[in-house]
Amino acid sequence: MTIPNDTAITPQLVADHGLKPDEYQKILDLIGREPTFTELGVFSAMWNEHCSYKSSKKWLRTLPTQGPRVIQGPGENAGVVDIGDGQAVVFKMESHNHPSFIEPYQGAATGVGGILRDVFTMGARPIAAMNALRFGAPEHEKTQHLVSGVVAGVGGYGNSFGVPTVGGEVEFDARYNGNILVNAFAAGLADTDKIFYSKAEGVGLPVVYLGAKTGRDGVGGATMASAEFGDDIDQKRPTVQVGDPFTEKRLLEACLELMATGAVIAIQDMGAAGLTCSAVEMGAKGDLGIELDLDRVPVREAAMTPYEMMLSESQERMLMVLHPDKEAEARAIFEKWELDFATVGRTTDDLRFRIRWHGDEVANLPIKELGDEAPEYDRPWIAPQAPVPLATNDIPQMDVADALLKLMGGHQLSSRRWVYEQYDTLIQGNSLQTPGGDAGVVRVEGHPIKALAFSSDVTPRYCEADPYEGGKQAVAECWRNLTATGADPLAATDNLNFGNPERPEIMGQLVRAIEGIGEACRVLEFPIVSGNVSLYNETNGRGIMPTPTIGGVGLIPDWTHLARIAFAGQNQPILLIGAPPAWGTHLGQSIYLRDLFERKDGPAPHVDLVHEKKVGDFVRGLIRAGTATAVHDLSDGGLAAGLAEMAIASGIGATVSQLEGYDPIPVFFGEDQGRYLVTVALDAQSEAFHDLLNEAAVHGIFAPWIGTTGGTDLVLGNARPVAVADLRSAYEGWFPNYMAGQ
């Protein structure tokens, strides 16, 4: 077979496509001839890290992905989990790190657009979004510009599309100076019997292109996402993708309308390496070949080559296999929404991926091998060394009140209001808890009392100190945040952001983090149903901190028993549920050491998963029984920060003075895991209160009564009282001041 090719395939060209010599040899062996330029592009797109998961696949397989409620685990556009009553929640998280560094607004916007598309491709209407953002040091010259662009982009797309953004994370660290992280999460709701998949079925059926036209956007983008940045980044820059949320909103409505007609056999959105990945996946999954006629692809620009069309990452596009007798009906729907609709190919029975253009065949490749035979590596890795414990006499001291005020007004613990007020958190009218609590909560449309909770978590500094414990902690914190609202954690999605896996230390971080995530998910019965891997997050050889972001979803059977973090009234006893005997002990890798003393030493806190589950189940029980009046889990900044957040949210103070004879620093700033603050509307002298304490003890849970709400000051042990108003102004001040350049 000969296919005309006017571009010579040189070793340099192969290397420019991110293909290693042995990978290229594998291509030659597979097809028995030199690939055409277009074919080389197709291989590079399918075999790069982003699409093939070649470095991570071996380890991803070890994650628990099944559970009684899991309808669809990893491998489709998004995970699907049963929430009862014939409905399912469909969700996923995905990174758009490199594009956001190059063009923060459009990079973030198209990241949000991509994840929304993943969700509605499955037939689900998006109901909630989150965004986990990591920027360089606040004082780094690019940071402020990147923050303002990324946040505007996330909002610009999500707000216009019409999905409430109910949660997320924002962190700053110098390790992200040259490589920010933008991880976008979306969840949607669908009927369990109307989920759509990407597997094509049936020979000779039309392959239909829908949505926006194809331009040269991001040609080479998927390859770029799998390459390290260097100083020559400008040369590598492809045409930036621009998001069009108006088109996406129409695409959503048109797709859902079309799905309801029964015309759709298979559907796949065009994400990274657009037409290539989507067509190959649909065919390969269904054991079918695909033939495309590029002359029919709607294009936005003149003289596009087949190579460009196959690799274009133009946004807001979909590929479908349709029932032939419904083609006209489908076309009418798309025309009503003023979107492009073109039959660009058909399914075949020969397992080939054929591309025709101007009467020539420009590619003819074995479709299964493009996906299944992608290289898979067992990359060498070395287990990271756990840091030595802090010496017992090595606890830097500081006035507790001063330390608290400084931390609450610092970049790590301060309010993210500046960010989330740029997001529409209320649209759709179902938001029960908007950002600022432990998890965002939206009620299930059409159901009187059911709701879903969402949280996104990871603590990269723990992952760096100990990727295994850090991986566990990310899952546990997410599970805890969901639990703190009263939700049953259902399942999670993971977004694994790491450096260059070809370096054994980095590969070691990835392996150990996945092992930790897997362990936590197993014990907590919190399966991973979708995810995304972003590697090569490095600039000039320096990697980011290992950042496996976990996005979790929980189910609240009755939202009238939804717990919030604000103290609910005066004179309510405060319990520290799940505490070690000294309330708090662990200062290794704490915010106290890092942000007040510039120390990054000590081990990451240990997560006792069995204890975690027991404590969480107990707290959830208190919420469901209506006993808990306010609940907040403890994370960064420990007990002091947790109390301050509850006080600020309510305007009510608290006095916490029951513990004597311990060093106050670990007590108030230790970051021991598995702890919750819970208030109850019970008299501390009452029998009911004592019964509660007894019940905790019976479960083997230490749940000391540590203090009482009331007044307008927060009093921590013997420290000077701090006015809640002062805490609030520190807490609310940092972000707006920083963005105003003060």
Partner: protein, 80 residues
């Protein structure tokens, strides 16, 4: 000293604004419209600077703020 900076999208960059306007113009019956691309103008008044100095300053303003040079081109016109 007055100056006008015109910022336009680079060729090949998607222009959803232009597209929507094009669609609307056609809907309003302007059938001859083959394409619309939208851009921005900034009219600046500068205090006492020579044309030379003004041009240098404005170029810097464009690079730093007025244009997003990843996706936009700019042109500077100085009048009087």
């Amino acid at each position: 000293m007055k100056a006008r900076v015109t910022v336009t999208l680079k060729a090949g960059v998607l222009d959803p604004q232009g597209q929507a306007i094009e669609g609307s113009l056609k809907g309003l019956g302007f059938s001859g419209v083959a394409s619309v691309r939208q851009g921005k103008v900034f009219d600046l008044v500068l205090d006492g600077a020579s044309e030379e100095e003004a041009r240098i300053a404005i170029t810097q303003m464009c690079e730093k703020l007025l244009a997003n040079t990843v996706i936009e081109n700019y042109a500077v016109e100085i009048s009087n």
